[in-house]
């Protein structure tokens, strides 16, 4: 264990009450995480992982099913020395606070669920334009409209295609367990900083609210990270500005090219995916997030019945693991895309396969959670229809 002092990272000139608060917070921390694994909701795990990633600012607005994250930050981030938590007046305000905090070079985040994420799109577009890192968590729910509060995957298109106006993308992760939520929160901050592109975690209401054992692989940093290019006042250097508007289209074109080159680098260097029982599979299921968990259950049962079925699960949704998926088409041409929507990731599956495979689809939209037994029937039917053995 690192020494207690690692939590006392704020100002050197700390007032006595602040120092006492910091000490209590450090003791609480040590008592809480003396064991390797703790049982937490997905939402709380993101909060804890973010704090350990050196997130200094959290801005949010209540919406189900992600409130546990906002509440976790209210309890655990708001009075930490040097850190800030604001329950904003709207999702729009929250994302713009992230924008403001990120401009100064610190790690900042916000979270919401589908309808709130729609409101944040303006700010995300501005962050993309200003090349500002930051983390946006979407614990998505059924839509369109106010929709339902049940888990759904209907925001795949919005998340992976930019979402707001203008020609941009965000780095998008699709975790499928509480452990992965924690791990990917850390990775999201790192990649977002590295490429100066906002990052998004696309979870869902079920992932956010279920509890699983989780192990945090990082300790909170002794010093909160600050990017060198942060805008912190023109002390000892000429003044700088960060802006999105230009009256020169050629300048904007250059920004678009710069972003595009980074998306290519992301595609080349940062994709991740999971191949589950794909080596001898004659039918490969493609699914992400919580749907992939359900699919795994069905695949295990199918395997027990002797059906050679595997799973391809993208972990980065943008960049999508195109090559890794196409590679699988060398062994089989039968794919079954499974999503909790009416078919959104299937576009990326087809684009990746470039016609090298047949892609069938099964989906349940609106917040309906399909069961693995239900999906097993779909697998079995397709398997025999295609004459696989």
């Amino acid at each position: 264990m690192p020494p207690v002092t690692y939590r006392l990272h704020a100002k050197k000139t700390m007032s006595a009450p602040d120092a006492l608060l910091a000490l209590l917070s450090a003791l609480k921390w040590r008592l809480r995480f003396t064991v390797a694994k703790v049982l937490m909701t997905g939402n709380a795990a993101i909060g804890e992982a973010a704090i350990r990633a050196g997130c200094q600012c959290y801005f949010g607005y209540p919406i189900t099913p992600q409130n546990e994250l906002t509440e976790y930050m209210a309890s655990n981030l708001s009075r930490r020395p040097g850190c800030t938590f604001i329950q904003a007046e709207s999702e729009i305000a929250a994302i713009n606070m992230v924008y403001g905090a990120s401009v100064t070079g610190v790690r900042a985040m916000t979270s919401s669920s589908s309808p709130g994420i729609s409101l944040k799109q303006e700010g995300i577009s501005y962050m993309a334009a200003c090349q500002l890192p930051g983390l946006i968590v979407n614990m998505s729910r059924g839509g369109p409209g106010l929709g339902s509060i049940a888990a759904a995957q209907s925001d795949y298109h919005q998340s992976t295609r930019g979402g707001g106006h203008g020609d941009y993308r965000t780095i998008v992760f699709g975790p499928s367990s509480v452990q992965e939520l924690a791990d990917l929160t850390h990775r999201a901050f790192e990649l977002s900083d590295k490429y100066s592109i906002p990052a998004m975690i696309l979870g869902d209401g079920m992932l956010g609210q279920m509890m699983e054992p989780v192990e945090f692989k990082h300790e909170a940093p002794a010093q909160l990270p600050v990017r060198a290019n942060g805008l912190r006042g023109a002390k000892g250097r000429p003044s700088r500005f960060v802006r999105t508007f230009t009256s020169n289209p050629a300048e904007l074109e250059e920004l678009n090219w710069s972003l595009f080159r980074r998306y290519q680098l992301l595609q080349k260097n940062e994709v991740s995916c999971e191949n589950y029982l794909t080596d001898d599979a004659q039918l490969i299921v493609t699914a992400f997030g919580i749907a992939a968990r359900i699919a795994k259950g069905a695949i295990n049962e199918a395997r027990a019945a002797g059906l050679k079925v595997g799973l391809f699960r993208p972990i980065t949704l943008f960049p999508f693991p195109q090559q890794q998926l196409k590679e699988l088409a060398k062994n089989t041409k039968y794919f079954l895309d499974f999503e909790m929507n009416m078919g959104q990731m299937i576009d990326d599956v087809k684009l990746s396969l470039e016609g090298a495979g047949e892609v069938a689809f099964y989906g349940r939209p609106g917040g309906v959670i399909p069961t693995s037994t239900e999906f097993l029937r779909v697998i079995t039917r397709l398997y025999y229809q295609k004459g696989l053995s």
Binding site: I92, Y99, T104, R243
Partner: protein, 251 residues
């Protein structure tokens, strides 16, 4: 010979793009003079809006970050919370602060965020070509109130400074104008006091500035400064709206 007047250090050597008779260039200068006098150039971060003053970062020699329309207060909140030792000001127009950004403004003020807002009220949307603003006078013709603004149809001129005066987190609110040398001097005092409030950590401070827009008012520069006196300041009376500082004057 003694030099008694020169360009403020915080104002870049650039030619303003503003129309003749526009108030922006005067207000930019006043802000820069205040920043110089308070010695805060190296820790000031400005938040200019979309609109005619979107290019404020070409003129202010301080760090600046452009915000989306209406979101200046939220962006400034993010900056100030992440970097409490910085001096943060927003520069917002009437459409920005009292239409699309009403929510952000009121709640930022209500949290008592320790920032300063420079609020330019010229009764129209300038950059987009003179549409009706929430602050447009009754009877005033604009491109989107071509029959003259009628309260029951287009709504009434909104008085954000008075509204913000009711909000607990605000410490200092004053309405000034930049249509005469006397008013310009008062405006500078108000801006300085607002920044001083922030330096003293007193909470949200705002200076509303009635500013002529001859182009969109379809007047000459001389007519427009008279119009500020004769019409605009009747609807938007000049003076201190709220002051909890206990100080009359910082000069």
């Amino acid at each position: 010979m003694e030099k008694i007047f020169s360009r403020p250090k915080s104002l870049k050597k650039a030619v303003f793009h503003y129309c003749p008779g526009c108030g922006h260039s005067i207000i930019h200068r006043l802000c820069c003079e205040v920043i110089d006098e308070l010695g805060i150039q190296d820790r000031t971060i400005g938040v200019p809006p979309p609109g005619c003053s979107v290019f404020a970062y070409y003129y202010f020699d301080v760090d600046m970050v452009e915000s989306a329309h209406g979101r200046g207060a939220a962006v400034a909140t993010g900056i100030k919370r992440a970097l409490p030792e910085s001096i943060v000001f927003t520069y917002q127009g009437d459409g920005d602060l009292s239409a699309i950004g009403t929510t952000e403004t009121i709640h930022t003020a209500n949290r008592g965020e320790n920032i300063t807002a420079i609020f330019i009220n010229n009764a129209v949307y300038g950059m987009t070509g003179g549409q009706m603003a929430p602050t447009t006078m009754l009877g005033m013709k604009t491109t989107t109130s071509p029959f003259g603004r009628e309260g029951k149809y287009e709504g009434y001129p909104i008085k954000m400074s008075e509204i913000l005066g009711q909000v607990q987190g605000t410490c200092y609110i004053e309405r000034v104008a930049v249509n005469s040398p006397a008013n310009i001097r008062k405006a500078k005092k108000a801006i300085k006091k607002a920044f001083q409030c922030q330096l003293d950590g007193l909470g949200y401070s705002l200076v509303e500035i009635l500013s002529p827009c001859p182009t969109n008012w379809k007047m000459s520069a001389i007519q427009s400064v008279k119009w500020v006196d004769e019409v605009m300041s009747k609807e938007f009376p000049l003076g201190v709206i709220k002051d909890t500082t206990g100080k009359k004057d910082v000069n």
